[in-house]
Amino acid sequence: MARAKIKRGSTSVDMTPMCDVAFLLLTFFILVGKFKAEEAVEVTPPSSVSNKTIVQKDFFNVTFDKGGTVYLDMDEAIRRDVIEELGKERNVQFSPQEMDAFAKSPFVGVPINQLGQFLKLTPEQVKGTKLPGVPTDSTNNELQAWISAAKAVRLGSKLVYTIKGDNGAKYSTFRNVIESFKKNDEYKYNLVTSQTDVPEGSELYQKNLKEQTEGSK
């Protein structure tokens, strides 16, 4: 009886298509994404439907985390002027070294009287220590002083005030921050959020749809 012959297939697989796919994905990710910038404080902002991108120039940013600690950072261009102004307003003498260190430091997370010590820390040390944050309570509102200094430096041209809060933060922290701004007669802020889609069928969705169809006509 003749036996049916089973043809032995080769065990090696052609890797070319897989290689194509891998590099295609790689190209996609490189083009779509942006590198994560090193951030001072890890904060997950709440989501919103806003699609306005955040301003990176002439900004003054207040960040607060879950525990209610307030940090602030600002555009590199104004840092030196701001600390000089703050020194004048608060009658604190900052040495030139401290000012240089401040111009380089990415953020502030301590009361003004501890600033000198804070500026001596290396970035690694900053990460390891628990910072007290900038005081915002009504008896000693240093955030207000910072805002006032930044405002004085930037008289004439506009600063963009951004507020970045953590999802889990309490509203009272946010309220304190807003109050500090209000005391300086600043009423317009940008809240940092992560973008989500507009819910389908909602009024904004329909409005956007209408604008789109009108635009294409």
Binding site: T11, S12, P46, S50, K52, K164, T173, K182, T193, Q195
Partner: protein, 175 residues
């Protein structure tokens, strides 16, 4: 996994040296490995979505009561944010008629009120209390954008409203 070389039968006679034919196929496995390694690296280091900014304008505090924005009682909806993602709301100016809702259902309430009131009278007052989270406040502000509410304000609850919220929370067992 090297490719098998297929032996070709020589048609040349004896004594003629065979030129050994090398396979033109290259093993791509290491290249695939490298590709996926790079992909993994990029996925971990890349930030896909840029943060966006939401505009917020607060009203100026005026000590003069006459300068406060006037809101018609018939067109106002007050939303108070409490602990544990609960919203308390009432229409008009009587906090005693306060009802409870969640973030999922608040959209329907806003829309219903919006449809039944003239556009120029409709006003939403958002009152986050001390225990509300920042996310809740932003969510509601976002809800205003989603539902195309043009007139709204964010203020603190009155002492009366706050004590009422606390009483309700206590009764509902929310810590």
């Amino acid at each position: 996994m090297a490719e098998m070389e297929v032996k070709e039968k020589s048609k040349k006679g004896p004594g003629v040296k065979k030129g050994k034919k090398l396979s033109t196929r290259v093993d791509l496995t290491p290249m695939v490995d490298l590709g996926f390694l790079l992909i993994t690296f990029f996925i971990f280091t890349i930030r896909m979505s840029e943060p966006t900014a939401m505009n917020l304008s607060m009203p100026k505090d005026t000590p003069d009561k006459n300068l406060d924005t006037k809101v018609k009682e018939s067109g106002s909806l007050t939303l108070m944010l409490g602990k544990e993602n609960v919203i308390y709301y009432y229409f008009g100016s009587d906090p005693a008629t306060m009802q409870t809702t969640t973030y999922k259902d608040v959209r329907d309430i806003i829309l219903k009120k919006k449809k039944t009131t003239p556009a120029e009278d409709f006003f939403v007052i958002i009152k986050p209390d001390k225990d509300a989270s920042y996310k809740n406040a932003v969510d509601l502000l976002d809800e205003m954008t989603i539902n195309d509410v043009s007139r709204y304000a964010m203020v603190d609850p009155t002492a009366d409203e706050y004590s009422k919220i606390q009483m309700t929370e206590k009764a509902a067992g929310i810590q």
